[in-house]
């Protein structure tokens, strides 16, 4: 286990970079999430004390924006686009197929082995390639349920 000093060292330098400016809360949280991969509760409390704002305030912002996550995510992140264009090209069937493949029920997004997180996004702006799936930052266009499952199998190998 990391010592407390180690744990908060990175958030300290992030706070310093933004000169402890309250109005920079969103960029601070973005940088923090980049560093820790999610927003751990104790780090959020730390940020609120350092900026002299209430933890409720920080929590409010952290939960308002969908980009922030308060729970750890899986090693590989699959984001299925469910924007209008992808939706009319049947992105739902891809989501369903992936859920079954990864054994996720409706409320779960991350697999038990912490290998995969399945998310939907409202629009990636790659409507010309619909339906689109993003796996670890790489966009795959014109997907089908079977192609999506093949992607998972490839990673598992």
């Amino acid at each position: 286990m990391k010592s407390n000093y180690e744990k908060f060292k990175s958030v300290c330098s992030i706070l310093e970079k933004y000169s402890f400016d309250k109005s920079k809360l969103i960029p601070i949280l973005q940088a923090t999430q980049e560093e820790y991969k999610y927003l751990p509760q104790e780090v959020l409390t730390f940020i609120s004390s350092a900026l002299n704002i209430s933890p409720a305030n920080v929590y409010g912002v952290a939960t308002f924006y969908s980009h922030f996550s308060l729970i750890p995510k899986g090693k590989h992140i699959i984001r299925v686009c469910d924007g209008t264009a992808c939706h009319v090209k049947k992105s739902e069937s891809i989501i369903e197929a992936l859920r079954k493949k990864l054994n996720l029920n409706n409320s779960q997004t991350t697999t038990k082995d912490m290998l995969f997180t399945l998310e939907t996004v409202s629009c990636l702006g790659t409507c010309g390639l619909s339906p689109a799936v993003v796996l670890d930052g790489k966009v795959y266009g014109q997907m089908t349920p079977s192609k999506a499952i093949a992607l998972i199998d490839q990673i598992k190998e």
Binding site: Q30, A97, G128
Partner: protein, 624 residues
């Protein structure tokens, strides 16, 4: 700082005078996803082997072929795109394995590889001048996207860039700029269509020592990506627009707020701002005038409602992005209580054009109340998806059938009968049907039929799309994006979603429909911001034009388009010869059987994705 644009232009032209050919690889998000960066890498590595004298992104030495990347060229479905200038060749769906042939035939010689050209029916189209998708457009804002290198400020300057900013800073007064904008009739391209000049003038007359300008790049409407393309393809045009805005209203600081999902746009904007600052176009005493302006790029954090101006301002201030009541409008009291002019990306990209060529020239395009051109993102079930720019006043028919090439059915055959509806303006817009095909596109005419230009997303639906499901889809979106401030929006969208879910899953009664309509009207009245006010539009417009589809779901428990999975069943008929192909294709292994005997679908396991039906070569699988 005084910057000599002419010298930069001259030096730039000089550095390129020995370039005989130029290869442009589209590096917009769509083409990158299709592998355009591989094509680019292969180009640079192979060309050395086969002796093409190339050189990338122009460094000090001069060679005679230039390879560069560009922003989105709009023809996304056929990407990766590769242009060769000056011949004007446009190759589509280029793969890394095609690169060698392209270099040998089309760069070293002038031969055209027909296989890589776009084919319009049987006609081979050599370049943009032959492709109906391009020839039927009127590209003004998008003209530079796809040609200039978005990461090279000098190329922007060499193409008349920052001239308008200089003119505004040195030769024009604040009032003159506002008057020119008012005269041009430019209306905000973000959705509401408010006259830009009036907004500026109102901000200008506010008595305040500190004012701000903001560029709204939080393009969240699903199905719209014109702002992304401009930010990726021509970021300096936005900066130039912002400089002119700041001068017009007397602001010295500004923000560009970009959606976090657009990572490429964020990095291109950041680079462009840095380059402009380094060269002295942003900073103190721009062009030697007494006008100073600094600009920040802020990345959003994933909240659709932040596209609403007061919510966006709250977000920049580091708060939850919730809208606040108007008045006061941002022009009076915006960022940190100061007067703020907030404009959309596409609006700002129009500004330098108006200042350079005058309001009268600008008004030559468009209709009386909607001047200029508009970029539409056309997606869904059409032959050619992508970005198009047409003058206001173009008909819907022209856009869908002439530019986008029409609506194909499941087998790819084109017919006007396949067209069912088009959703305009995203989750706030409405659906238009066959009877509206002749309607002209402008701010006012669309409102009369219950739709809106919105941000300009067009999603075309064919007869295989269920309109109830479309309404449900949009409701899901608005429900999850509602910030929760107004009760009617927060609870009303949830209740509407539950009702729509009941309808698509066969649990609804006739009462559900009247209740749905009543609630839809109430939500529109009882919400503060545009999100809630327009959340009901998809429901109301589908109820208006596709009532019979709702009735079929409610009364007969059937989905005529065959899309609502709960009302569907797949069956294998006796046409099955037992080849087993469907069983291997099924993603959830719900199909089993013995070879050469009829296979069976395990209904509880089936997710109704339709893969089996698509893969069966004997039409033995039916949907009912």
């Amino acid at each position: 700082m005084d910057i000599d644009l002419e010298t930069i232009t001259r030096e730039f032209a000089n550095s390129r005078k020995d370039i005989k050919k130029r290869i442009i690889v589209c590096a917009g998000t769509g083409c990158v996803a299709n592998g355009s960066l591989d094509v680019f890498e292969t180009l640079t590595s192979i060309s050395k082997q086969i002796g093409v004298d190339i050189h990338i992104e122009l460094k000090e030495e001069i060679k005679d072929t230039l390879i560069s990347k560009s922003g989105c060229q709009g023809f996304c479905q056929h990407g990766p795109l590769l242009n060769i200038l000056p011949q004007g060749i446009l190759y589509t769906k280029v793969k890394a394995s095609d690169v060698k042939e392209i270099l040998e035939k089309s760069v070293l010689q002038d031969e055209i590889i027909e296989r890589l050209c776009y084919h319009d029916k049987d006609k081979v189209c050599k370049g943009q001048e032959d492709i109906p998708f391009y020839t039927k457009q009127n590209r003004i804002i998008l003209k530079q996207c796809g040609v200039v290198d978005p990461e090279d400020i000098r190329e922007y300057i060499a193409n008349n860039g920052y001239k308008a900013a200089k003119k505004a800073c040195i030769d024009m007064t604040e009032k003159e700029i506002c008057d020119e904008l008012i005269k041009s009739g430019l209306r905000g391209r973000g959705g509401a269509g408010f006259p830009t000049g009036k907004k500026w003038d109102f901000t200008r007359v506010q008595n305040s020592a500190k004012k701000y300008v903001i560029c709204n790049g939080d393009e969240g409407d699903p199905g719209a990506f014109m702002d992304r393309s401009v930010m990726e393809g021509n970021p300096h045009s936005i900066i130039e627009g912002l400089i002119i805005t700041s001068k017009a209203i007397g602001a010295d600081e500004g923000y560009i707020y970009v959606r976090t999902e657009y990572s490429l746009a964020v990095s291109r904007m950041q680079k462009a701002v840095k380059d402009a600052r380094d060269i002295g176009i942003l900073g103190k005493n721009i062009f030697g005038s007494d006008h100073s302006f600094i600009l920040h790029v802020m990345e959003g954090a994933g909240a659709f409602v932040c596209g609403e101006e007061t919510a966006l301002i709250a977000s920049i201030e580091g708060k939850r992005g919730m809208p606040s009541p108007k008045p006061p409008i941002p022009s009076q009291s915006g960022l940190w209580g100061n007067p703020t002019a907030i404009n959309n990306v596409e609006t700002l990209a129009n500004v330098p054009i108006i200042i350079n060529y005058g309001a009268d020239n600008f008004k030559k395009n468009g209709t009386q109340n909607s001047a200029g051109t508009k970029i539409f993102a056309i997606t869904g079930n059409v032959l050619n998806t992508g970005l198009i720019e047409v003058p206001f006043g173009t008909t819907l028919k022209h856009v869908i059938f002439d530019i986008a090439g029409g609506v194909p059915d499941e087998d790819g055959n084109l017919s006007e009968d396949n067209f069912k509806a088009v959703q305009i303006g995203g989750p706030s817009g409405g659906c238009l049907t066959k009877e509206h095909l002749d309607i002209v596109l402008d701010f006012d005419s669309l409102k009369t039929v219950g739709a809106m230009v919105g941000s300009g997303g067009f999603v075309v639906m064919s007869k295989h799309n269920c309109m109830v499901n479309v309404a449900k889809f949009f409701m899901q979106f608005t429900q999850s994006e509602s910030c929760g401030k107004c009760v009617l929006c927060r609870e009303g969208t949830l209740q509407m979603l539950l009702m729509l879910t009941d309808i698509t899953e066969g649990r609804a009664t006739v009462n559900t429909l009247s209740l749905l309509e009543e609630l839809a009207r109430a939500v529109a009245i009882g919400s503060l911001c545009g999100l809630g006010k327009t959340a009901s539009n998809p429901v109301l417009s589908t109820l208006r034009y596709f009532k019979e589809e709702y009735d079929a779901h409610v009364k007969d428990k059937k989905c005529p388009a065959g899309e609502c999975v709960k009302l569907l069943n797949y069956q294998i008929t006796d046409k099955c010869i037992g080849c087993g192909l469907c069983a291997t294709k099924c993603p959830v292994r719900a199909i089993s059987g013995k070879l050469k005997e009829r296979y069976k679908i395990d209904v509880p396991k089936c997710i109704k994705c339709g893969v089996c039906k698509d893969s069966c070569k004997f039409d033995a699988i039916v949907r009912s």
